[in-house]
């Protein structure tokens, strides 16, 4: 399972790549794998206000429809339009071209609620037991 070092993770299997005040957001390799072939993503609207752990997107695979929760509070800056026509990018490159959106986050302190790569790895091991 691919768990890049420089990202932050949630228990619901979202990741955030933080760059200054901006964060890239997507779902983890583990989530993409568990869902199977992803066929559709409903992305948030640009400028939409997000709350940490609040609903921000929906992914549909051939098996299920699942909600995606915001890793941090803030405002949506851009959404990955590529996913509208190529949702399979989420399965192929969940941490790169398969990202969902970028956001400006508003509360640095919320980072304490996120896991680093090592803790997320441990969390996943816990789940598979």
């Amino acid at each position: 399972m691919n768990i890049p070092k420089n990202l932050f993770y949630t228990k619901d299997h979202e990741w955030a790549r933080i760059d200054g005040k901006t964060a890239y957001v997507g779902i983890t390799d583990y989530a993409a794998h568990s869902l199977g072939d992803i066929t559709f993503v409903e992305l948030p609207k640009i400028n939409e206000a997000l709350k940490q752990a609040g609903h921000c997107a929906t992914v549909e695979s051939v098996k299920a429809a699942s909600d995606v929760y915001a890793p941090l509070s803030g405002k949506v800056l851009t959404v990955n339009m590529q996913l509208a026509t190529n949702p399979e990018l989420i399965n192929q490159a969940p941490y790169e071209q398969g990202y969902f959106f970028t956001m400006e986050f508003s509360n640095e302190a919320e980072k304490v609620n996120l896991m680093d790569a090592a803790s997320y790895q441990q969390y996943l091991e816990g789940l598979s037991k």
Partner: protein, 443 residues
Amino acid sequence: MSYIPHTQEDIQQMLSTIGAKSIDELFKDIPVTLRPKSFNLPASKSEFAVTQVLGNLAAKNATGLVNFVGAGFYDHFIPAAVDALTNRSEFYTAYTPYQPECSQGWLQSIYEYQSFICELTRLDVSNASLYDGGTALFEAMMMAIRHTGRNKIILDSGVNLIYRTMLYTYTSNLSIEFVEIPVVHGQSCRQELFKYLDDKTAAVIFQNPNFFGAVDDYSDAVEKVHKFGALAIASVYPVSLGMLKTPGEMGFDIVTGEGQSLGIPLSFGGPYLGFMAASSRLVRQMPGRIVGSTVDSDGQRGFVLTLQTREQHIRREKATSNICSNEALCALRAAVFVSLLGQGGFKELAEQNYQKAEFAKERLSCIKGVQVKRASPTFNEFTICLPHPADAVVQRMIEKGFACGFPLGRFYKGMDNYLLVAVTEKRTKEEICRFAGSLESVL
């Protein structure tokens, strides 16, 4: 599977397991005053006796009246082939298939029904049908609310009161702001519409022809509605689409309607047929089943249920709707009806309705004291103003053998003297003339 009722011992065992003393105790949360007083069922009777009782009850209905009542449900001719084909046991006795792809015939019939609905409305995608025109309109409104994330609905008062009441009842526990705009000279008042239209509006809902029978081209209103990022919804009478400008051409985003006029007999309480079509960008918000066409691993054409992630069995509480089946048999009737008529026949059906109603308008306008409302063009239904309350006139016309129309005072304040008259292809010239003569004699 045989039916095995619970024995007294079974019942006692279940009661003692959950700690209840009697079956009555299970209903203790329901106040006694609200419980049934008595089911008042007579002792059992033979089949013959039951047939007689029910036959006598049925005979109380007036079935021999010449029908000029519409108001949302219309007396159209149904070719015998509709019954012959839909009564085939492969269709008639089948319940909704739990392995739908094993029932290719069933899927194909729905696919063809959906194709007809798209052709008639000129919208991109149709679902497999809904219960009736009212529930379809409710689902369309909820689609708009989900799609826009807004909760204000502008409702034209020319929409059937039954539907408006359903929208209010269904949503009485949701926070939705409704605004009703008036009808002026038969047409939806644009000035009032534009006054209330804003960037909080989720949808504007029209009916074409409206309840007064008036036909309108809503293109201008739809364009304005879109400028505010809202959706335009129309409830339409499918037979009228054989000659009127289609909702697709007017730019509507969602179209619904009552499909009863497509081969389904008039009956009190249904079953009827709700249809719905929408622009393809809204397909994921659509309720209910959608049948798609595809090819199998050998490259042969086949049919599947598609986009099921919208539906309840996959999306659980986040489903677009609690509708998880469709009105398959009625949809099949509609598909058979439309295919029997064909494109030319459907157009002719619409034209006959229109021409016969125009003829009736001419005849009725010759009666002293009767005023035919002509401010707007109409399809097969129109409004007349009588010198007396319409309710009384309806009573007197029943004695003459006519169900002469719908008294508008029942739905609209101050319209006690107004009568809504529908004329379908079934009404002959002779019937229309007799109708005019009888009306003249009772006034």
